[in-house]
Subunit: 578 residues, 2 copies
Amino acid sequence: MSQLLFRTLREAPQDAEVESHKLLARASYIYRLSSGVYNYLPLGQRVLNKINSIIRSKLDSVGAQEMFMSVLQPVDIWDESGRSADFGALLPAFQLEGRSGHYVLGPTHEEVATRIVSTYAKSYKDLPVTIYQIQTKFRDEARPRFGLLRTKELIMCDAYSFDVSKEKMVDSYEKLRIAYDQIFKELDLEVTPVEAKSGAIGGDVNHEYMVPSPIGEDTFVSCFSCGYSANTEIAKKRNLSQEEIDSINKSITERFNTLIPEEVLTPGDGSIEEVAGTLNLKDSKESFLKTYVLKDKEDKTKTVFIVVNGDRQIKVPNELEAFEKEDFLNSGLIKGFVSPYNLDPNFNVKVICDYEILKVPESGYVVGANKENYHVTNVVPFKDFKIDEFADVASVQSGDSCPKCNSSLTLIRSVEAAHTFQIGLKYSNAMKNAEFLDSDGGTKPYYMGCYGIGVSRLLAVIAEKHHDSDGLIWPSAVSPFDVVIVPLLASKDDRVKMTANRVYEDLSQICDVLFDDRELSPGVSLADADLIGITLRVVISPKTLISECAEVKDRRTGSIELVKLEVLAQHLSSLLVE
Amino acid sequence: MSQLLFRTLREAPQDAEVESHKLLARASYIYRLSSGVYNYLPLGQRVLNKINSIIRSKLDSVGAQEMFMSVLQPVDIWDESGRSADFGALLPAFQLEGRSGHYVLGPTHEEVATRIVSTYAKSYKDLPVTIYQIQTKFRDEARPRFGLLRTKELIMCDAYSFDVSKEKMVDSYEKLRIAYDQIFKELDLEVTPVEAKSGAIGGDVNHEYMVPSPIGEDTFVSCFSCGYSANTEIAKKRNLSQEEIDSINKSITERFNTLIPEEVLTPGDGSIEEVAGTLNLKDSKESFLKTYVLKDKEDKTKTVFIVVNGDRQIKVPNELEAFEKEDFLNSGLIKGFVSPYNLDPNFNVKVICDYEILKVPESGYVVGANKENYHVTNVVPFKDFKIDEFADVASVQSGDSCPKCNSSLTLIRSVEAAHTFQIGLKYSNAMKNAEFLDSDGGTKPYYMGCYGIGVSRLLAVIAEKHHDSDGLIWPSAVSPFDVVIVPLLASKDDRVKMTANRVYEDLSQICDVLFDDRELSPGVSLADADLIGITLRVVISPKTLISECAEVKDRRTGSIELVKLEVLAQHLSSLLVE
């Protein structure tokens, strides 16, 4: 420990918002060189090496082949795939001009993988092929944060599968899922694969591997009853049948028949926050209906209102796009004050409402009055405005009904640990020669899958899931050392020193041991051991030696026991395989 | 083998000039994505992984600690060390502008290492510290060539040592030398550490680890008698004493007393090539004396001529710099035709000659006539021009005398496999807080060493040293597989198929085995096995089975023997540890 490049920091870095970041920095696992750019100190690198070994062994076991692609990618292969159009918000890639070439610093490697496989696997006999690499990726993040969770430079394990057909692609996808499950199991992470948006990668089916965590930037929806799970961006909730809608319509109309809509002055921009303030309805977003004004992408003269509860986000149907400023001017609609209430009957609009608006609150809804600086209260659907269609156009919330089994859905904040995609033909169709000779003599494009695990991010995810107020608690498979030996009062007691040295020699034969030879005060030594979080701590002190014992603490359970020195090695071995 | 991402290419890439490049490309080890940018295919990655394991184990064994620094380096730390001034020719670094920062893509990591160590090792008790990483480096090479030997993106293992004193720095340097020796021994590379120029890294003492090779871009000088070795850029040759010079002066003057200098018309730029052409003296560069015109850096009015043999390069003394175009105009000297012969006696110049010009050829030297388009032949030093001083100002050639033992020196073309530097205080003095608290209570700057092995380059160096006309020949420590099994006529002979399968299962228990299950013609299978170059080849055919044998070929020696199946595993094991 006196030789280890390591220094306990009392204070966490100022920009550290989450525990994993604070602890990894304080215990000398990571060093921040600049915003979103981290360096891995010896303790951190030991954990990374162990994570990488696990990943390699599991991916190798399903037949994936390791390779190493370049960081520098000529921009022309991104032009070829069509993705250079996505550079910016969707794909925040770093670009640079060299002496002789314009490069992208690989944020991902679909294009390069396609180019390589289509050079070497030209026949159906060469397929399936799954390649992977563990490598540094680069993303010009606008807002790096949460330590290793969102950075500009990150370590990833990315894999790419190539198959002769959609069915075979699904087989490869399933193989990788099995490998991923095994990897996360070894890392002691409970991970839920959820359906998600494909973003800049592409393809129809894809799954995020989510680790529930209160610091998560993602949220997924889960049904504990049937197992349905999806990212909230695309999660579905149960649709109501026409029969159910008719019945609700009837009951609403009866229940609210005495409620009279009332126009109220609400000066400002018409935002829910502002109107709620004016009406003293703070924290009651669910009393509002939000009306989004959209138009058909194909026939831009067709105007559509999408009406959702004030506490939900809209899910925009694919065929619609946003109203522009000019559209508002032409239509006479007043931005911030639009609603389906009190519309000119000659105004041609289709009103699509989310099912959830049918759970009408006690005093109806607040909606825009279609009049500058005015809203209307006590508004009731059906009774006070016409509805053309119901659809699942609003985000899911906890308590909504599962689309598969009708049980209650739960929203779970989470961190993404991995993301896999059934890409299909996107890159094979776009790129030159991305085809193989099939058994029938014809050439066909590859069906492709793509798979990514955030390796450096895992360091943070594991730390986030496994720590307590004293420090980190590494699962034994990735602990930087298996055991830390802490001799107490060694400078004053020769027997402690000699015994500790001997135990260190012995244990070093069977596992990775860190030896605290610093001869600091017991308090400092024990606190450092807890902070670093090595799975097992062995204390040797004048007191433990009275009974020829060492004290063994399992950092995972907190359990402490005295163990006879003669069976210490055996005892530790049994704890490590747990 | 049917699953391996691999395809034998009959033709080497057009830009492949050297065997290592041709073979690594043809045998599917590497894929060139663009100029100087390579990707490592599964076979190549397997070799890299093995090289990396060897490096890690040897560096760990001398107490070096692995970490992982970032590729993205804010340019301001290069300003701090003063090296941003070197960007360009000396340090061809890629730079880029991100959303929020100007970065250099790490071509090397002295600044980052210094910053990190000076954060975590603040006391003399924390020293020595040696850290290392295996990582991708970036250099904007003007002329990438020779496959992996000069690239824009390369894998390096770089290490940095930090010590309390110069003596301790030398101790750390020696430890790393021992580790390096062990690494190269395992890689079966004969490496000579030679003294070299420090270039952009800095420090007084440094060594290049040279592998002799006819394709080398470096040349070093070696004395087989005393072991002196140095890069030709800085190599010394024996200096003559004043007594020796006086004696030679006397003998020259006597020997050449009948030789009369003769002016000859040599129109053109005055280059040796052109003048030699005019005078029909081709391939006789040694008959010329070259005169370099320089000036003192401090006192620019002081002009100096450096005179060296026409077949040698000048070694410019540190205190001098080149004459500019303007200087030529002011001085009246005629570029291309300058020499110390027939100079105006009032022209103030110091003439420094290399010792080697005293080996005067039969008919004297050809020198410039200090007159446009004219040279002079039959010129003899001392007799025909004055000499102010002798010095070691010309490059070394084979046959020159060793500066240490006076034996004959040999020039050896070579490839650089590693480079180590005793940097001293360069970075500690330049960078903020790069100091530690010493035992006497004072703060002192770190003494630093820096060490680099070209990992991806090693792939090429090993391939260059170990191949024959059939293909690559991997040393067993880095062979992508230990054994390749080639069944012949398996599709026609069930016994071959079954035996080969069983042998594959058995051998897989004890080593890495590649199995050629492609059922191609014997010629293709055997040629592929030779090309890939796996250390041991096991052929199982109807013929070998007659005697219950397999044929074992050791690719390193070419030896072929029939080995009984029952002792095959044992036999292969013994060959692998050789």
